[in-house]
């Protein structure tokens, strides 16, 4: 399939998603832009309601419309704009070329079908495999996802698996059609740390073997630090900072990122006597923002922040931050 001249597997520009509810509009995603290179793992962090899930659901068009409405933007994937192609073309991509794993495997797995059936389903519809071929492939996938005795377990139902194993099943399903991009929305949030460690190990292994690009949504900075190549920080429906993982942790340039990194306690090293607090609450997204969404909680805020929503400024190599304050010079930005 021709990819055009772009070096990106996914190129999202100015994505805008609004929910129209009885209580008014919710501007969940505001001009979100990002790219994904082949084989890259992009971590997406941000607090709940910051728009992480809605962004990703918008680009694969998995939102209930209405109330959701995609108001603008483009999503280039394999030479097509996913925001514009007809739904039947989208169906051929979703779950096949773009795989998905969600937080709660129990709600995404169907309790009345065997796990084997659910892995074979996309193999048969998207890849046209025969039943025998699909069975063999399904067993391979379960095995790849680290489920012992895979062939036999195909006949089991979801409730016969533990939470961690169900997430492995979800990963097997997501990988079934050899996707180019995997979108994982808080896939380990509901799991215990020892099980999370197993899944993270599995993902690292699978990346080496299969080389797909991954978007990994989480609110856990520790998980991000361990698996991401690059990190995108979201706040109030916007991307506020984006940088390679080491750069972001060593050299954060947005006030929100800087405070977020100081508010989490560590398990090793020095123990802070008191936790840093980000005062206040996240913004209510009832209008398209005409000011900085972090303004109410930002210790750096000044008059300009109240009148203008900052663009993403380049603040270093492959590093940008949406803030009028320049931490490198310790002064207001003059652009």
């Amino acid at each position: 399939m021709p990819d055009g001249a772009t070096p990106f597997v996914l190129d999202v520009k100015d994505l805008k998603t609004v929910f129209r509810t009885r209580g008014g509009e919710v501007h969940a995603v505001n001009n979100v832009s990002f790219t994904l290179k082949p084989g890259e793992l992009l971590g997406v962090v941000g607090e709940s309601g910051s728009g992480k899930s809605v962004t990703m659901m918008s680009l694969i068009r998995l939102l209930p419309m209405p109330p959701a409405e995609i108001r603008g933007g483009s999503v280039m994937f394999e030479g097509q704009d996913l925001a514009r192609i007809p739904e039947e073309m989208m169906r051929a991509i979703r779950g096949a070329r773009i795989g998905m794993v969600f937080q709660d495997p129990m709600t995404s797995l169907n309790p009345v079908f065997t796990v084997g059936y659910q892995i074979m389903e996309p193999l048969r519809t998207h890849m046209g495999l025969s039943k025998a071929q699909a069975t063999t492939r399904a067993a391979e996938l379960l095995d790849l996802a680290g489920i012992p005795d895979a062939r036999r377990r195909l006949a089991d139902y979801p409730h016969q698996f533990s939470g961690g194993m169900r997430q492995r099943v979800m990963i097997a399903i997501a990988l079934a059609c050899d996707p180019k991009v995997l979108i994982a929305d808080e896939p380990t949030t509901a799991l215990d740390v020892t099980i999370q460690a197993q899944i993270l190990e599995l993902i690292k292994e699978l990346r080496q073997k299969l080389g797909m690009a991954i978007v990994w949504i989480t609110h856990d900075l520790g998980v991000i630090a361990g698996i991401a190549d690059r990190v995108m920080v979201m706040y109030g429906g916007q991307v506020v900072e984006q940088a390679p993982v080491r750069e972001l942790f060593a050299n954060p340039q947005h006030p929100y990122t800087r405070m977020l990194l100081e508010t989490v306690p560590h398990i090793r090293g020095e123990r802070a006597a008191k936790l840093r607090v980000i005062q206040g609450q996240p913004p209510i997204l009832s209008r398209a923002p005409d000011s900085c969404p972090f303004r109410a909680r930002c210790p750096q805020a000044f008059d300009r922040c109240a009148h203008e929503n900052p663009a993403r400024f380049d603040v270093g190599p492959a590093h940008d931050a949406a803030c009028f304050w320049d931490f490198k010079t310790g002064a207001k930005r003059d652009v």
């Binding site: 630090a225 942790f249 990194l261 005062q279």
Partner: protein, 345 residues
């Protein structure tokens, strides 16, 4: 850090057991039991925070609820300021209730949606005090101030608040009767990172100001390292290790504690390069059917022959450090003899 020598024991838990019956079939016949808490002993000193950690289903909440007598324990002893409460009758419990309170995980589910904030915070005052309406409102305002809620919100309903604010309402309610002891069951688990710090700082501040004692239940080990003075680690209904906080995090002794700590991802990319992570295999066995011998033997990287036969007892192997593991048995025979006594049927 908190010094236990000379400190007063506020809560003493001995061999606490909390089994839930499993009933199956049409006749709901008793076919087994979930051993949620299976012989747990520890003390909580006045003014300290004891952290209780462990994976989902290991019995943390059951333990906390049994201690507060929100459950009727199956067996064991619980003393609050020396008074036995494990099997205390209702009227005695009612008298002691004000001293011990609970803050719940899900502030949404634990607050009555049809009551105003003032109603929620004032309810325990109605039940347990003779304050008149004016005095009660005064106390409600005082509590709202203490937890950082604007007094103007007194007549609003829980759904009008954010998660962090709702947790503050829950804390204000728990404080209403001037308790000495509060069980905080995952009080920050449902909150965002940026809000967690607000609530944890509030809990710490209130502890300093009011001399509170906490049992802080959490699966967030980094946060427990921040807030706890001592830490108890649970696995499958048992406390496998109990130690002062710094010792536990710097030098875990039980193989489960070691694995648990090594599984926590640090928010620091460089720490992941050289981390020698212990990846435990498999899942936690069912508490309805725990393995014979040491209950960690099915996943323990250091399992020995004896572990599959004999259940290790928890012993103090260095000052303040309690561990339940055969690796630390100075005299296996003695330990074996002890553990071989029938502990349950």
């Amino acid at each position: 850090m908190f010094d236990t020598s000379g400190a007063k024991k506020l809560v003493e838990v001995r061999d606490l057991t909390m089994h839930f019956p499993i009933r199956t079939g049409l006749l709901r016949r008793l076919t087994g039991s979930v051993k949620a808490v299976d012989g747990v002993s520890f003390d909580i000193y006045e003014g300290e925070t004891l952290g209780l950690v462990g994976e989902s289903g290991c019995g943390k909440s059951s333990c906390g609820r049994a201690i507060l007598r929100l459950y009727d324990p199956t067996a064991g002893s619980i003393r609050l300021e020396g008074e036995e409460i494990a099997h205390a009758p209702f009227d005695k419990l009612r008298r002691l209730r004000p001293k011990m309170q609970m803050v719940f995980q899900d502030p949404q589910a634990s607050l009555n949606p049809r009551m105003t904030v003032a109603g929620i915070i004032g309810e325990p005052l109605m039940e347990h005090t003779k304050l008149n309406a004016a005095k009660r409102l005064e106390r409600i305002y005082e509590l709202m101030d203490a937890v950082g809620l604007n007094r103007e919100f007194a007549n609003r309903y829980p759904h009008e608040f954010s998660g962090g604010q709702r947790q503050r309402i829950g804390i204000a309610r728990a404080l209403a009767l001037n308790p000495k002891f509060i069980v905080c069951d995952e009080p920050i688990a449902a909150l965002d990172v940026s809000i967690q710090a607000q609530v944890v700082n509030l809990l710490e501040e209130l502890q300093d100001r009011l001399g509170l004692t906490y049992l802080f239940i959490s699966h967030d080990l980094s946060m427990v390292r921040h807030i706890a003075d001592r830490v108890a680690v649970m696995y499958l209904g048992r406390v496998v290790e109990l130690a002062p906080r710094d010792a536990l995090f710097a030098d875990p002794m039980h193989p489960y504690t070691t694995a648990l700590l090594s599984a926590v991802p640090e928010p620091d990319p460089a720490s992941h390069d050289d981390a020698e992570r212990i990846i435990l295999q498999g899942d936690v066995p069912s508490p309805a059917n725990p393995p014979k011998g040491c209950n960690f033997c099915t996943r323990c990287p250091r399992v020995m022959e004896i572990c599959r036969q004999i259940d290790p007892v928890i012993r103090e192997i260095a000052p303040g450090r309690h561990v339940a593991c055969h690796l630390y048995a100075e005299d296996t025979h003695k330990t074996a003899a002890h553990a071989a006594q029938p502990t349950e049927v």
